[in-house]
Symmetry: C2
Subunit: 533 residues, 2 copies
């Protein structure tokens, strides 16, 4: 576990950022610098003396730069075991190299620029990974740096340790180096498969937040973040509250998904991964109240997400300071892109409540994945709400007046597990889920569940059954998939529903339309199914 004094370094970088500063720091501790081509040119231009690599390799740079570093002398100087092989190295005239600073040909950049196959191949680095892997293997005696972001710490460590590097730092650098070469070859392998017309997929993750357990306490769990620069779900700002659980994270994603794509002020209320409440309007407090009231029983202990900066006025709805504790509305998680300081302070009245800043619109993912027994189902995320709006009934569906409500309802249905039925309405300018039925083997049961929930909700605000029926008659029932038979339409009509939206596509569509006409309903076809499992 001894420190390694850095007396001789090899610098060969494709990304030149920060290399001069590092070289100067190495010069200051009297470290010899061996360097190659472009790196050497830049350093010499800045007056930093370097040893040309060919004087060490004993070979010329050859074959259009394909051979620069690879040689018995360089790799021996990196690889030999300073304890076991010292005499042998001396006999072979191998002087140790203590530090390798290297980053690889920019394969990714060239690929993203749409380079042709030949150019891609030319940008596969061979010498770089050899040096990096050799130095990483021999980390007991050698340090390897692959990321310019590590230069600052490298210089600090050198300065703190009198020109040497600790075992711990060398080990950190080693693991990073193998991750770097693994990422590099993963990228190349996928690109080469693609050139052959084969799809392959390599997903790479590092540990994120700690989790106490999985969906249940007897299941261990880990939360990973995908490697790379993209904004991920893990890049959230937890401002307050108890440790997040596995189920919290699942539901946070569900709650964000439900408000994704909304241009209005939106709020979702999620329980067991389904939005039992969802509302959109102009005012955040109103949106929360209307989302909550879609299922005020299930809303207790829910996960609530917003798409606008969270205000004190809104969160006072939770009545966390009500002297009557039974009136306080406890939820598990509150998420918004930003949270105002006074709103946060108010939410902190509840010790366990997790308060999180995260913005669904900052997350740009085109695919989702399901892992099933050693396989992966990849699919495009469900972005297209509808590809037509065809009224199919004698009484036309009013798609001009109801366009925003239909779009709202389609965003709702695509975030509810199938089979699903959602009933949405506009009240005082706010769009709201009035009732939904989720996750049913039988669509008819989903329709029943949605209607029952609507009635339960309307009984709280309506004076009598006539008023309830009037409200149901203005609402829109949306189905995630077509109706195989007329039974759903008949049930909905019997309960007071007048307007139905569905994708269409059943062999019995015609009978369904005729049933609507017979019962005086309007029906709109969207052409796009929204199964979700």
């Amino acid at each position: 576990m001894t420190k390694v004094p850095i007396r001789r370094a090899l610098l060969s970088v494709s990304d030149k950022a920060g290399i001069s500063g590092l070289a100067k720091a190495l010069q200051a501790i009297n470290c010899e610098i061996i360097s190659t081509g472009g790196t050497r040119k830049q350093l010499e231009n800045e007056g930093i003396a370097t040893t040309e690599i060919s004087t060490v390799t004993g070979n010329p740079e050859a074959f259009g730069g394909r051979m620069k570093t690879i040689s018995f002398n360089i790799e021996s100087a990196i690889l030999f075991d300073r304890d076991r092989d010292a005499a042998e190295a001396k006999a072979l005239n191998i002087e140790p190299i203590d530090l390798v600073v290297c980053n690889l040909y920019p394969f990714k950049k060239v690929m993203e620029q749409g380079a042709d196959f030949e150019t891609l191949i030319e940008n596969i680095d061979i010498g770089g990974p050899t040096m990096v892997r050799a130095a990483a293997k021999n980390f007991k005696h050698v340090a390897v740096v692959v990321d310019p972001a590590d230069y600052a710490r490298l210089m600090e460590e050198l300065s703190d340790n009198n020109g040497a590097l600790t075992y711990a730092f060398r080990q950190y650098l080693m693991a990073k180096a193998f991750n770097h070469t693994a990422d590099y070859d993963a990228m190349i392998a996928v690109a080469m498969d693609k050139a052959l017309g084969q799809k392959s997929l390599r997903l790479n993750f590092s540990q994120g937040l700690g989790l106490r357990y999985g969906e249940n306490s007897h299941q261990k769990a880990v939360f990973y973040r995908e490697n790379g620069d993209k904004h991920t779900l893990a890049d959230m700002n937890v401002l307050h509250g108890k440790e997040l659980s596995f189920n919290n994270i699942l539901d946070i994603q569900g709650a964000l998904e439900a408000i994704k794509g909304s241009k209005a002020v939106a709020c979702s209320v999620v329980k067991h991964n389904n939005p039992c409440g969802l509302a959109e309007g102009k005012n955040q407090r109103e949106a929360l109240e209307m989302a909550w009231n879609a299922d005020p029983v299930s809303a207790f202990g829910s996960i609530i997400a917003f798409n606008t900066k969270l205000t004190l006025d809104t969160v006072k709805f939770f009545e966390l300071d009500n002297a009557d504790k039974s009136l306080r509305k406890f939820v598990e998680v509150v998420i918004a892109p930003k949270i105002e300081a006074d709103a946060l302070k108010y939410l902190q009245l509840h010790k366990n409540l997790r308060v999180i800043e995260q913005d669904v619109n900052a997350m740009d993912y085109k695919h989702d994945y399901r892992y099933l027994y050693g396989t992966l189902l990849e699919q495009d995320t469900d972005e297209l709400l509808y590809d037509k709006m065809d009224s199919t009934t004698l009484i036309p569906f009013n798609k001009t007046v109801n366009k925003d409500l239909v779009e709202f309802g389609l965003r709702a249905i695509r975030s509810i597990k199938s089979n699903s039925i959602v009933i949405v309405r506009r009240k005082n300018g706010v769009l709201q889920i009035l009732g939904m039925g989720a996750g049913q083997p039988n669509r008819l049961v989903a329709t029943k569940l949605a209607i029952e929930k609507c009635k339960e909700n309307l009984r709280r605000e309506c004076a009598d059954n006539a008023a309830i029926n009037a409200e149901l008659g203005k609402a829109i029932l949306i189905s995630d998939a077509f109706f195989p038979f007329e039974d759903n339409v008949e049930l909905a009509a019997a309960e007071g529903i007048r307007h139905i939206v569905q994708p269409g596509g059943s062999i019995r569509d015609k009978q369904v339309f005729e049933t609507c006409d017979k019962l005086g309903l309007t029906m709109l076809l969207t052409g796009i199914r929204h199964f979700k499992h």
Copy 2:
């Protein structure tokens, strides 16, 4: 796109399987064989003349074998561009190497044997990946073989092409080589992270079955198989029927999951990823009938899985040859570990029905994964059914008589989406889901759904309400999680349920037990929650 004659090959393998046969084939076409240490010894013992690598490198093997192949001469001979660099190579006395056969130090094997950190490090191959990557990069002129499974095809191709190799074969080998080095460094990176106490995860997949689209037709999809030797869901034998869809695959996994771990003859019926039917007994036909009858409406168009060899007697239940078409029972997919020839023939009466051989017990996966906006939730699969069986009521829950039924019900509930309630019974020696409620934000709704389904089913077999109540009184209601309040128990009791199983753990457990006593119910606590989302 020219063929490359193989005149000089470098053989350096850690896994010696098949190498002698290959060397003989190369000898037969007058190909010079350069070889290293152990490989050379074996070939020389078999009378195959080889060139010792040090005569090519010009360097000794050094540093305990760390330096064997890496040299200006070897990598130049592999890497130089035969078109562009021919003159330069000649001037430098570099003779081309046309074929590299190499496999790497057995890092994985050593790791799986539980080797210590030092041994792991020593088993990181440096020279091998350098040669392999160099040859792969220069595949326009060089062939590279990393997998002994490719030797047979290599010899065939050499023989078919008069001692040369085609561009297409070289490109195939190249992509395979980069996949190999990517896999190798992925393994090392994860092991090195682990040594630092960091968890990282690298999942690697290749394209499997083609899919027309995802959950819905506007979503593109790909089905990937995880690289490696394990038996995966993709390793199934599709004997008959239409192309599998994305949703079929999701449901196949759900159907297999539901019968996983059963020691009896089991059958599951899945719709939208939830088992609406599940039964276990001694007879396969009985199991199918009982599973079907748990929800005979939803069972149409379902996915049905078995854990025993599928017989003609069983599949005749579908009545695919019934002259009255309305009596034929159409399902989407039938899966069993094996399917008897006459059963297959019968199922083929339905042109579109997918008939698949796949055995859930051949798939051994300890983790499942959920991908959410650039993050991955990993957890142990839900294996532990219960960790206690505590009767908590004055009338004791009869855990001796009901043990198998409780275990059956727990396997059922862990495969149903939360919140879930399942009601199970024993009838004529067969264990059966009598009714279930899935995917509800509110547990009380799940309870209502389960009871309604039971009654619907019992109305078909019982003469009157008294008989229905008697059956319900013998059944067991199982909840995936604890009861937060007494309301579920009160509802169940009012509907005729007498026996309840739940994990326990609510702060109101005591009140729930007292309510059971008041209502004359029995209750069993299992200690293990089974949320599933």
